[in-house]
Amino acid sequence: MPSEKMLMRGSHVVGEAAVRAGCRFYAGYPITPQNELPEYLSARMLEVGGTFIQGESEIASINMVLGAASAGMRAMTSSSSPGIALKQEGISYMAGQELPGVIVNMMRGGPGLGNIAPSGADYFQATRGGGNGDYRTPVLAPAGCQELADITFVAFDLADKYRTPVMILGDGLMGQVMEPVVFPDPLKVESLPKKEWALTGCKGREPRALFSMLLNVNALYEHNLHLQEKYDEITAEEQRWETIMTDDAGLLVVAYGTPARIAESAIEELRAEGIAAGLFRPITLWPYPTIPLRNLAAKIGKVAVFEFSMGQMLEDVVLAVGDRAEIYFYGLPGGIVPTPSDIALFLRSALKGDGKVGRRIET
């Protein structure tokens, strides 16, 4: 049975959802603004017989996840931006070794140590692969606590289905904010699909080895083609997005995560004035819902992109839309969270094309 409706902060929501999704291993290193997640799991994992380890670093933590994943566990780590930078080594290895795992990034300001305020500045890091090699990481970007709960289940399922690390990309605001949540039914760990590749000791079978090093050039070539086939399949099968009030829209707002929530309120403000705007909200940032956005943008003719960075998701919008619609962009470097009315100013400006708020992107 789904849970009762509960009021919980985003970081706790991910922790509880992970446990319900069958995660029994967590390792992480403290960093603000996501400490509430390891704090929650330090107690919760004990209740369910799972493992919580406060690692000596983000690097150690992701590698502990790599180890637990190799042994067949649903495993997770979390951090915030600079800590995620440190985890890239392990994420790249997990991609190469085809090991499932979930990595949560509650983004904060950067570059470098930046600050602890919400940001969207790790979009490139998340979607382009921060580690070495020709790999992709599915990136799920929820826009609130209920979706955080639901998408954590999706993240573990995708990770296991495709044997790949999966990232949940939130931000410092989402991790802190409290919202009502109803959790899905807890999954039974023993009823999760069997992992025929996992290391369990070789009793009654040939030994297994999980590795990413293929010194033979032909072998690595084949391995990368195999990975690419998998990424092509994920691209074809796993795109997620949401559209809101787009049927009659004369302006299509594109935003993900927390900015999408603000944009939705701004759209309501415009609609109260009789201006028909709608929202396209990518939920998978990789694979990006390129074609659905292209088709909708071409129909509407005018696109307004808003994000907590100075133009990162914008690149995917430009790749999707090209010159099929006018593109306006308003980026905030993160930290300062605008009000819906601030964003409404941008949207009105985009509609008029007067360049007062944001700027026109030439394609």
Binding site: I59, N63, L66, A68, A209, L210
Partner: protein, 253 residues
């Protein structure tokens, strides 16, 4: 057949090693260390429960030789990976097999903290005082005066810093129950090393805590010595910086 002919089998392949020729250089200590690991696993009946973590370094391909489950770790992270495995599957026997660059340089933090947490992992630390796979650069354990491609003229403490004795360092951690340093450079030493490996494994079977055996291991290729002279160098020169013997033992065995 052999029994009928009056022969008794006194030596053979171990089940814990695959029937694959290794890529190790003539005179390299890895082959001997592999053999010791395999013999102990066989004798203790652990092979089918073992999950091993090879290093990045000369033994990176150990999964081609060891006949049990293995997972590759990034350079230096073997003990973090091993920690994840052991905590996820505490009933399994988890082996970390690492070189000096892996364990005592890039993986120093992982080594110290896994040891200090008292992770129930058996670690084989192959110390050959050089970066072998990359071609003879200075290792954290390169001894003073020793030639390396990045320490021309020999390791000078003013220029290159001093060699690190990480086994001694981590012996101060409460989570560590057993550390012994052995040599792989004579038959007598190899026999002693096997006893140490076995004890190291037993400590995990009995769930006592972290155990490590450091094996001073010849690298004739990068030391630019013959295999025979490399053995002599281990036992005459290297042991001055890394004295052999039990460094810590609270196992009660």
């Amino acid at each position: 057949m052999s029994a009928e002919a009056g022969y008794k089998k006194v030596f053979g392949r171990t089940e814990s090693l695959k029937n694959n020729p290794t890529h190790y250089c003539p005179g390299c200590g890895h082959s001997i260390a592999h053999r010791l690991v395999a013999e102990c696993l066989d004798e203790m009946g652990l092979r089918e429960d073992t999950i091993g973590v090879p290093p990045v370094g000369c033994a990176v391909l150990a999964y081609n030789y060891f006949n049990f489950d293995m997972v590759e770790a990034p350079h230096g992270r073997a003990l973090a990976v091993a920690t994840g495995i052991k905590r996820a599957r505490p009933e399994k026997f988890v082996l970390s097999y690492q070189g000096d660059g892996d364990l005592a340089a890039i993986g120093t933090a992982e080594t110290i903290h896994a040891a200090n947490r008292g992770e129930e992992i058996s670690t084989l630390f192959i110390n050959n005082a050089i970066y072998g796979m990359t071609g003879g650069q200075m290792a954290p354990t390169t001894v003073l005066g020793q030639e390396a491609t990045t320490a021309p003229g020999g390791r000078d403490p003013k220029l290159h810093g001093r060699p690190i004795d990480i086994s001694l360092m981590i012996s101060h951690c409460d989570g560590v129950v057993y550390i012994e340093r052995c040599s792989l450079a004579s038959l007598k030493h190899i026999r002693q090393a096997k006893k140490a490996v076995r004890k190291c494994f037993q400590a995990q079977v009995d769930r006592l805590g972290f155990a490590l055996v450091e094996l001073l291991s010849p690298c004739p290729t990068n030391w630019k010595l013959s295999p025979k002279d490399a053995w002599a160098w281990v036992n005459e020169v290297m042991v001055k910086t890394y004295p052999l013997g039990v460094i810590k033992d609270t196992t009660g065995y």
